[in-house]
Symmetry: C2
Subunit: 84 residues, 2 copies
Amino acid sequence: MESKELIGYIAAFFTTFSMLPQFIRMIRLKEAKDVSIFMPSMMTIGVFLWLLYGIFLKEPPIIIANVVSLILSITVLIAKIRYR
Amino acid sequence: MESKELIGYIAAFFTTFSMLPQFIRMIRLKEAKDVSIFMPSMMTIGVFLWLLYGIFLKEPPIIIANVVSLILSITVLIAKIRYR
């Protein structure tokens, strides 16, 4: 694997999984007041469009990373709505 | 512009600017308790690596989008540290 490819994969890992600790924190605190509802909303729309883009390009790495991101973004959005 | 390219640009707009409402909310509330520090931290690391990736590939759209994302992620991280 080329070094730029490796950088891309590590980058994808960090941006994709950045929503996971946010989800865990809201679940732990049972509170989400300080989280803007627009953050996971915009993330969900954007990631959904990245997924479409990956499907258009037939690029499995883009598709896979954005399926995971989409699930995590929707999870954060639901937690925000649930805990307010 | 091809439709897939347009989808990519709209996707980049949403994912890039999703951090802005989060920053505004913390500034308004002067509080960030419910925001996980790992969310903007991981986002900052990931976006920085995407920026390196864009520089390696010499792809201006990747570079520009991730410079903006990097600034916004760092801003959210600073606000989280500032307001706790």
